[in-house]
Structures are given as C-alpha cells and as structure tokens.
C-alpha cells in the first residue's frame, strides 16, 4: 500500500521543465549573433539611433534574451519596410515591454503600430537632435504645428494602450520559437535586398 502511494506521489509531483534541446539552444544563439546587424539595418532603414538604443537598453534592462530581441527587431524591420518608421518607436516598445509583451506578441503590437502610424515606405525619421536643430533654424516652438513634409508626426501621437482583447499580457514559452535560423538565415539571407552595411567586409 505504502509503495503504491509512493509511486502515485511520484507521478503527481510537478514534472520538471524539460530541458531545452541542444539544437534549439544552438539556433537561439545564432539569433543572438545577428542582433547587432539587425539593429544597424534598422538604423539605416530610417529609425533614429536613439530609438534603437532605447529599445535595446530596455530589453537588456528587462533581461529579455538577445535572440528574442533580435527576432522582434527583425520583424520590426519588416514593418518599417512595409509601412515606414514611426515616431517615438523606442517609447512605444518600452511601454509594451513594461506591459509584459514579449516575442511574437510584442512583434505583432509593433507591426500594428507601424500599420497605424508609419510614415510610409522609404522615409526616414529625423533624430531628436536634428529635429531640435531644424526647429531652432525655422524658429518653431514646440507648440507650433510641424511642417507638412512629415505627415505622421503630430497625428496619432497618443499611443493606444495594450488592450486585453487583442494582445495577451504574457507570451507562451514557445513564442518566437517557431522559426529557426539555419546558419545564415534571417537577415543575412536577404542581403541583396538590404541596405549596404557601412564599413563592413561582407
């Protein structure tokens, strides 16, 4: 009787989390390796450096694994190409990270934001410094409306808070693990369509 209870208890004990397979771990680190390149391409695609830096700093501060940040930035890059960059991208991602969004959910929220507020394909956002200097030159105060050559700015500045209905607050553990890089997959695989890396040998 005692033995059978022990056997039963053994089965009822919480099952330890199954260790990640070595192959999965290997592909995770292949994503991490691409993080600098993706962040650079994002800059070259019109997202100001300080915005990229703020996203990276926030992800690092929140201990988001580098491979996950890489995948989010990669999908952000696709959104930027599709809809153009958005103003205050860094602040938006910070809000989403603070709300607990990670992985695919975060990428989806970023994509939706780009679809809603993107300034259009091939356009670039000026960095905050450049924007300040330009305002100074034109004698604009911060309260004055900005010029028409930047259509997205000024409209839709209010950010839509994440709603329970459309984005879950947390992600399942399996999130962002569906697509695996195969060696030089992901960003590098699409080199021909990407802007040239300055100073690189590739």
């Amino acid at each position: 009787m005692r033995t059978s209870i022990l056997v039963l208890l053994t089965f009822l004990l919480p099952v330890p989390v199954v260790a990640q397979e070595p192959a999965e771990q290997a592909s995770d680190i292949l994503y991490s390796i691409l993080l600098p390149r993706t962040s650079q391409i994002l800059r070259e695609s019109g997202v100001p450096d300080e915005e990229v830096q703020s996203v990276i700093a926030e992800a690092r501060r929140r201990r988001v694994p580098a491979q996950e940040t890489q995948q989010v930035l990669e999908q952000t890059l696709e959104s930027v190409r599709e809809h153009g960059p958005v103003d205050n991208f860094g602040a938006f991602v910070q809000t989403q990270l603070a709300a607990g969004l990670r992985g695919r959910d975060l990428a989806a929220a970023i994509h939706a934001e780009h679809a809603r507020r993107g300034i259009g394909k091939g356009k670039k956002l000026a960095s905050k410094k450049a924007r300040g200097a330009r305002q100074g030159e034109r004698g604009l105060s911060r309260d004055e409306p900005e010029p028409q050559d930047e259509p997205a700015r000024g409209q839709g500045r209010e950010r839509r808070p994440p709603q329970a209905g459309d984005q879950p607050a947390t992600r399942p553990d399996s999130a962002v693990r569906e697509r695996r890089p195969t060696g030089r997959d992901t960003v590098r695989g699409r080199r021909d369509t990407l802007p040239r890396q300055s100073g690189g040998r590739r």
């Binding site: 070595p22 192959a23 771990q25 290997a26 592909s27 680190i29 292949l30 991490s32 390796i33 993080l35 600098p36 390149r37 993706t38 962040s39 650079q40 800059r43 450096d49 990229v52 830096q53 990276i56 700093a57 992800a59 690092r60 694994p65 580098a66 491979q67 940040t69 060696g183 030089r184 890396q197 300055s198 100073g199 690189g200 040998r201 590739r202």
Partner: protein, 91 residues
C-alpha cells in the same frame, strides 16, 4: 619686440609639432574598437561554423550564454561597435 614675437612663434610651432602625434594617437584610439569586440566576433564566427558546439566554444572563451547576450546588447547599442563587429565577422 621682434625677438619676443619670434620666440612666441617658435613656441607655438613646437607645441603644434608635439601635439600632432598625441592627436593622431587619440584619433586612432577613437577609431580602433575595443579588443573585446574582436573576441566577441571571433566567438560568433566559431559558433556560426559549429552551432552545436556553442556551449563549449563559449566555455573555452570564459563566457556564459548570459554574458554573450550581454555583449551582443552592448555591441548592438553602439553603431561604431556594430560596424567593427560586422567587419570582423566572416562572410
């Protein structure tokens, strides 16, 4: 007065001559990336060649995955470091 001007001119010339190498050195320090970027790029190259051996490669370079991630963030946050890292990465 002329003598003073000549001495002053010579002093200025000497000062400029001496400060040139210092300026060059400072410029070189600014342009050359920190040594750790080279180490990270080498580790990344090795991992990319044999992803299955990632952990042993990291261990051989006194790194953990968390430490490697942290360095990747460090590089990605800085365009100059990123350029240096990408230049050192194999094709």
């Amino acid at each position: 007065m002329k003598r003073y001007a000549a001495v002053l001119g010579a002093a200025v010339l000497i000062a400029c001559g001496e400060s040139q190498p210092a300026a060059d050195q400072a410029a070189q320090e600014m342009t050359s990336p920190p040594a750790w970027v080279g180490s990270v790029a080498r580790v990344a190259n090795a991992i990319e060649r044999t992803p299955a051996a990632a952990d042993s490669i990291l261990a051989a370079n006194d790194m953990t995955r968390a430490a490697f991630d942290s360095l990747m963030y460090e590089v990605a946050a800085d365009p100059a470091l990123t350029a240096a890292y990408e230049a050192l990465r194999t094709k």
